[in-house]
Symmetry: C2
Subunit: 452 residues, 2 copies
Amino acid sequence: MEKRLFALTLALILGSVFLVHLGRDNETGRTLIRNASMVLTMDSALGTLEDADVLIEGDHVASVGKGMSAAGAKVIDGKGKIVMPGFVDLHTHLWQSLIRGCATDKELNGWLNGCVLPLRGSPVDGTDAYAGTRLSTLDSISTGVTTVTDWSHAFNPDFARGNLRALTDSKQRFVFAFMASADSWVAPEVRRVKKDVIDRSPLAHLMIGTHPASWNVADVEAAEKLSEELDVPLNVHLLESKADPATDQMGVLRRAGALRPGLLANHVVHATDAELDELAAHDVRIAHNPLSNMRLASGVARVPDMKARNLRVGLGLDGGTNDTSDMFNDMRAAVGLQRAQSADPARYPTPADVLRMATLGGAEALGLEKQIGSLTPGKKADLQVIDAQALNFAPKVDWTSQLVFNTQPVNVQWVFVNGVALKKNGRAVGDTERVIADAQAAADRVRKYLDR
Amino acid sequence: MEKRLFALTLALILGSVFLVHLGRDNETGRTLIRNASMVLTMDSALGTLEDADVLIEGDHVASVGKGMSAAGAKVIDGKGKIVMPGFVDLHTHLWQSLIRGCATDKELNGWLNGCVLPLRGSPVDGTDAYAGTRLSTLDSISTGVTTVTDWSHAFNPDFARGNLRALTDSKQRFVFAFMASADSWVAPEVRRVKKDVIDRSPLAHLMIGTHPASWNVADVEAAEKLSEELDVPLNVHLLESKADPATDQMGVLRRAGALRPGLLANHVVHATDAELDELAAHDVRIAHNPLSNMRLASGVARVPDMKARNLRVGLGLDGGTNDTSDMFNDMRAAVGLQRAQSADPARYPTPADVLRMATLGGAEALGLEKQIGSLTPGKKADLQVIDAQALNFAPKVDWTSQLVFNTQPVNVQWVFVNGVALKKNGRAVGDTERVIADAQAAADRVRKYLDR
């Protein structure tokens, strides 16, 4: 019996490998992007190349250079195109495509009270979570995102599982921030998820989500304990709304021992100088979400002051609190908000700065810079190919700037994650029509529980 | 001889009419958008309809309602789609697609000195102006703009003619703001343009552009005189940069007698209370360009204070000074900038407010509200059809808000101007590839004269 089970398992595994192999675009797992008009490597040693090739082999970037030959490789013509690393969306809530357009007249707490908190204890389930997350991942791929940090409210175990299934099905690289609490089901479920899902996938990473506030100390302590036990970072919303400082967020984190390297703090709009100093001293990482800060009237984050303290800052779309799923728009908002506020065009960040924040900067914030964030040979093949021969982009004047100010998601022609094409010839791979229909059905179910 | 010429002319006219007729999509010139999931009429008497039809007959909206039949009409399936008025881009410089990406690290005057002013007296010509403008018009159509206010620097007569030819070829509705000066060629050329081009086209309107400043009084006076003679409005950049108040712009306008109803003032970022009062007292119209104000570090315009004074305000993309040709982004920037600055989600404008500003508001600012700006039967058929069944837009929760926060230009499926389809099934009508190649060639010529 034992032997039969083993043989059956082996057959299943071998069969799956064979099917995956058949599903590849080519036999060798090699793709050559040939003669790209610009290759923005984001690797300071390689710089930016013109009329160059990028060779993908298996899951990684094999080489970047000129005049490559690669027999048997699938070839993508790079003429008139830009190759650059895929975006790292450092902060989002993928399930929240189900509440797009909800309470767009409210600030953070009004929006939370109307559109998110009522779902705690409501019968939202894994089917709902799957539907919202699946839609968001396809949308995210469409705008060139290859790694997504998904802060999940994990309302119940089934919801968390549905959320994770959709992330796995997306084939994007992901960090799942599981909102933990002192509730008895949470720690065992998070441990199980780590063992059964995260540790088995080359694409998956785990964080522990929590919300530091004076009314939430027990949950923060439980989350910090789990974060230490599993050796994965904590991921929190920090000083986002002008109401947040009154909840002693910094004090709660400090006393829980959570201010330590790797902590990912989202937003950090209403921080004092001393608080920024303290975050920098503990090598806390920051996700800046300018579009969300605009939609929710949160304010303008002190990004130049973070830069002055060498804090690692990446960019997030923060879906749900921001319905705009356009990373180019997020980059230009990061530039433009600072400029409009200061009336200083030299203010940090510049277009080149936000391109780094949206790629290598996000990778560094996650501690994944050895794997992703630049087109460095040996790193994972997470990249995008952008068509610069478009009405909204041409003619060529200064492409680095045009990537930030001109580009629209529709210009993203190809997206590769771990060497696998997830957007091909301008279309995200997947049954878009069905995904949209499923998300609509889930949104209609979820709406019943909202306080709108 | 006289008779033969008459016969020949008649034959040519009849032939042209026949050819135009053949070029129509259907024989009756009727298009029925059937069963649209939402029709946002922007007409306060009609409101917003669900599952409704819009009938276009010839150049106008024939009716809006339910269950229409229209034998022989071309039918567009409106299921899952939103029909709304086309956008009025109240301020732009279409030729400036040739300098996209130029000096994106500079504020207004640095950018002007590097990228615009060097072209005065340079041999830029009508071919260049045509190429840049043609690209911009196709791009503008792609994002749902049906009326464009093109402030042309008109560097020389040939440049102005090329600019106008491209506008005419675009089939968009346009207002050509011809930058006038005291130079001897200008007034006769503007008079000729009005007689030969503007007055002969149902789509064309004229304004006189000038730049009020203490160092430019003679030109402003010449422009104001021409504006009065031709009975067309003046169109100026006003208090855009923080350096502008020192040039006595308001005083120059006041003394020239130019502060009068219909004057279109672009930007108005650095106005005092008294100056806003004065603009309101004279029924001056304002073009708000939030994306441009962000890119050029101009500041945050006092839009709520304009609203409080009942000033008529529309939205502009301001191409060139803002490379982002996405009217949806422009709308959400108008909302988000105010919210981020004030930390008040109720601050004017709301999503519904910017939808009005971008359509009927712009039409009112131009004095064209009886012709365009809403889907009122009898008004011109300038409208767009937006696909809401897209990864970045679905599911349906609150479409009014989603139009502002979620939409991307790629979602615009159809654009009609004066009843003629200029974007069909998601593609702008035109030889895109050739237009892009011509614009690149022109950009390469123009670049030689820039001070970069």
